[in-house]
């Protein structure tokens, strides 16, 4: 039986956050709430990426200071790959939000409500 160490506490917190968001998307009935939850789910995963790319000690951001030796830089800077994934995902999250907002506004125009319980034109 493995027991989590304090160094793994960030993973655990992020896992709880992601689970709450997945619950909200699946079982909340308000479309706007679902959209917010999807947005926060992306945030949670972003945190997961950044946590995995962090380095303890006197670390520096992944921008090489003038005059520093590359091998020294590689041994003290944090992981740029994780940062790259997050930059991309934030932009994509915005595109998702734009799409869903447009659709939700139109749903409200047609049905006068955004509760999935009350929108029952189609049987699914």
């Amino acid at each position: 039986m493995v027991i989590a160490t304090t160094g793994q506490l960030p993973y655990i917190l992020v896992a709880i956050m992601a689970s709450i968001c997945i619950y909200a998307v699946l079982f909340k009935s308000n479309l706007f709430k679902k959209m917010l939850a999807i947005f926060l789910l992306t945030d949670a995963v972003n945190l997961l990426f950044i946590i995995q790319g962090y380095r303890l000690g006197n670390a520096i951001p992944p921008i090489i200071p003038p005059g520093m030796d590359p091998s020294e830089f590689a041994s003290i800077a944090v992981d740029p790959l994780a940062h790259y994934f997050v930059v991309t995902a934030v932009v994509i999250g915005l595109a998702e939000v734009a799409t869903l907002t447009a659709l939700i506004i139109y749903t409200y125009r047609h049905y006068g409500t955004i509760e999935t319980k009350k929108i029952k034109e189609l049987r699914g």
């Binding site: 709880i16 709430k33 950044i50 962090y54 951001p61 997050v86 934030v90 915005l94 907002t101």
Partner: protein, 83 residues
């Protein structure tokens, strides 16, 4: 041995979890949006503390500023309360 930064990050993340639960629980959508904005700021702080200035910039500009504006513009066209 826990370093100071770990403790701070754990605290911030725990606060994020609480905020997420509150966003899911509350019935007032405007409050949910404000809380989501606050959570965005917290996330940006974590990014900054974890030495990711690029992403902190993106998060503040897009994840907090523009997305919150988007949510509010959207909310003005639909009902504010969840049933």
């Amino acid at each position: 041995m826990i370093e100071m930064i770990e403790l701070v990050i754990d605290l911030l993340l725990a606060f994020c979890v609480v905020l997420t639960a509150a966003i899911v629980y509350t019935k007032d959508l405007l409050l949910a949006i404000v809380l989501a904005g606050a959570e965005g700021v917290l996330v940006a702080t974590v990014f900054y503390l974890l030495l990711a200035p690029d992403i902190a910039l993106v998060q503040v500009a897009a994840g907090v500023g523009i997305s919150t504006a988007f949510f509010i513009v959207g909310l003005r066209k639909i009902g504010r309360r969840e049933e």
